[in-house]
Amino acid sequence: MSGHSPPPLITVRNLCLTGRRATGPETTIVSNVSFDVAEGEMLALIGESGSGKTSIALALTGYARTGCRIAQGELRVAGHDVRTMGASELRSFRGKTIAYIAQNAGAAFNPALPLMEQVIEPALTHHILPRKEAVDHAIALFEMMALPTPHTIGARYPHECSGGQLQRIMAAMALITEPEVVIFDEPTTALDVTTQIEVLEAFRVAMRQCGFTGVYVTHDLAIVAQMADRAVVLKNGSVQEEGPTGQILNKPTQSYTRQLVAASQPHLRNHDALPPATPLLDVQNLMVGYGAIMPNGHPRHTIVNSVSLPVRAGETLGIIGESGCGKSTLIRAIAGIQPWSGGNMFFAGEPLPPRIEDRTPQQRQHLQLVAQNADLVLNPALSVGATLRRVLTFYNEDASDAALNRVLDMVRLPAAVAGRYPTQLSGGQKQRVNLARALAARPRLVLCDEITAALDTVVAAAILDLMMELKRELGVSWLFVTHDLHALRSVCDHVAVLYAGHCVEFSTASALNAPPRHPYTRKLESSVPEMHPGWLDGVIRQNGLKPGRVAPIPAHGCCYMPRCPVAVADCAQTPPPTWQAPSGALINCHLQAPDLS
């Protein structure tokens, strides 16, 4: 606008990307996208999967995925015209001027090389630094990223680091050549909320100290609020809206952006009163583990430790916890595909045998599992109709076309979907078919393992709405496993918080918001990103960052002790008692209500 401002570092004008399947016609992926990024600015590219945000980010590096090409438009990055560069120019441009941080750092590292070799590789191949200086520079970057033991972590192999650490090491690798532009492609999507905070903070520190220009690709609006100065909203390959982050999040002008913002806002979907207290499924002191059986009769490694959960008829019970806390193992044990070593389960008053083979046909029919990944759950060789019809005929239900359409209608899918194959469906449609398959059996309890984790915000919101409608219409009970606290709060009647295989808190969903709360619940709560820009600073001021090295869990004490900010001496010695708070919550902690509010 004013003639005095410096020219933008990145200029994209009328960018069009096209792609084609093996023999099909060329289709447009991205059409007519234009934006600028000023020097030192962070621009967010927001959109659902398939909106072309990653394709645009890759195009900035002059790269198009197999079968795709940059059809037309202008791409200028830090004075280079990306489209006119040859192969060798591009190679040097990619290392020195622009760097890319991928979504899944665990898969991006070579497992056979120590991390330091891989981190300094860009500096060595582009002859920017001699080896020794590159190593020193890498260590300085590790320090900046707040990695534990920055001097020796480079000697480790990728499998010896956690996902959050790898993501930060990958950022160090991107920054070692001191590039002018860094592209972040959903770098925290695969991480837990508690880990996400540390990684986001590391990125912000790096940005402040190194002063690069960034492009941040994400679907999470709360992260955009923390990281980006400006945002571009994309849908189906074209720009919907562009503007400063605050304006996009608070005063969106386009209907699509409003929809996106609304889907990210937590809202209560479950308005029903709690049903009577007869448990449909009663899990008592469940122990699950693996490894050799120890003298005390339990396996060497316990994954689920003495968990008791009652699920009442017609309610939704949520199980929340970070990855590795045993929530999937617990649900697999209930489903009968994971043997357990101690405890009992009762379903509708009858004991539930551990092995699925030993269960009665009624128990198998009334207890259905909906797995996380709809891509793996649907047989690619069977049409949707054939898959659903098999369930109906197997349980001697009416398998006519009308019955099939009824099942599809239950999950709000049109009847025409019956003739399609899973590969012809979108992610949300597949998850609906996945649900329909479980519902076709007329179950009394449906076990849902992270069913919304792989879906976009808008699609996930629709699935949650559907769950609640079905609960009202059919009286189905749900056991809902998730790591998303917003989703949990909006659909659940009761909530169990799992940490390291222990149920640390069991309460009603409404009591989860009010003190007293278990310290871990509080930590989880504060880790969920919120859509106002100051959130990350606030959390870090309040909680501090997690210490680099966490002490092992004490053999007899509380499982949360090593990470607990309010631990007392007793915590390392004796297992914590479970007591009931005035709100009805069962809390597993040595501290009492006044200390935990």
Partner: protein
């Protein structure tokens, strides 16, 4: 029972070159003896190793018999014998492979180690041993070739089935309480049909090669029966005269194996 395989999705690419070629050879094998101009054992000319002529399209052989006639009969026995042994080998291999993948544990270990043992013996050697022990006859040859190619097919199918068995849709079917036969026919087989059919094609080529080798060594099909390998061998003397009697069957073997191989390869690249 509806057994509608998703034909359009799995067989369309397959129905192109390789299947057409295989169909052509099968047709030739079945119709060959009917369209042959002479009888296979009939001496029709006084000239041996005669060149190509209007009366004898591919000349005559070392006894003055019509080469085209003998080639048609030879093709017929080679293709049908090898097809029979391939079907047996791959049928049993696929069945055992899927069983091993589904049952795992002891069944899998015992079967796999046994198959590894069989596969370690060179195919020509085990073919020779079989013929030396039981004599050379059509059933012995077919069964021997079936046994020789069973382990290879078993391993391919077991590997394919293993990766499918671990998918969640098999778990879902098992949790429903489905029988093994349903799992095999409806859930596993359709998902491995493409690679398995390619494997069947390859095994067939191996079988043609083995039978031709055995016959060339004189232990395969015995006169008066004839196949492509024995035709090449009995007319070997014609090589010095450049007679079509030896070149024609050799070319037929090449067309059959290399052609089918190229077609299958092209299909693999296409997918």
């Amino acid at each position: 029972m509806m057994l509608a395989f998703p034909l359009p999705r799995y067989l369309t690419p397959f129905l192109q070159a390789p299947a057409l070629l295989a169909l052509l050879w099968l047709l030739l094998a079945l119709a060959g003896p009917w369209v042959a101009p002479y009888l296979p054992g009939e001496v029709v000319s006084t000239t041996v190793f005669a060149p190509i002529s209007a009366r004898h399209w591919l000349g005559t052989d070392y006894l003055g018999r019509d080469v085209l006639t003998r080639l048609l009969y030879g093709t017929s026995s080679t293709v049908l014998l090898c097809a029979a042994s391939t079907v047996m080998a791959c049928g049993a291999g696929a069945f055992l492979g899927m069983m091993a993948a589904l049952k795992r544990g002891m069944t899998d270990t015992l079967l796999s180690r046994f198959m590894d043992g069989v596969i370690s013996i060179p195919s020509l050697l085990s073919g020779l041993v079989a013929v030396a022990t039981f004599g050379s006859s059509v059933p012995v040859l077919v069964l021997a070739m079936a046994c020789i190619y069973l382990p290879g097919s078993y391993r391919t199918c077991r590997m394919l089935a293993l990766s499918i068995v671990q998918k969640d849709f098999i778990l879902a079917a098992r949790m429903r309480g489905e029988k093994t036969s349903y799992l095999v026919v409806r859930e596993i087989l359709p998902n491995m049909a493409g690679p398995v059919l390619t494997d069947v094609g390859l095994r067939f080529i191996y079988a043609v090669r083995l039978l031709s080798n055995l016959s060339f060594l004189g232990v395969g099909l015995q006169p008066p029966q004839t196949d492509l390998g024995s035709l090449t061998r009995e007319n070997l003397l014609g090589l010095v005269y450049g007679a079509p009697a030896v070149i024609a069957p050799a070319l037929a073997i090449a067309f059959l194996t290399v052609g089918l191989n190229l077609a299958l390869d092209g299909k693999g690249r296409h997918q």
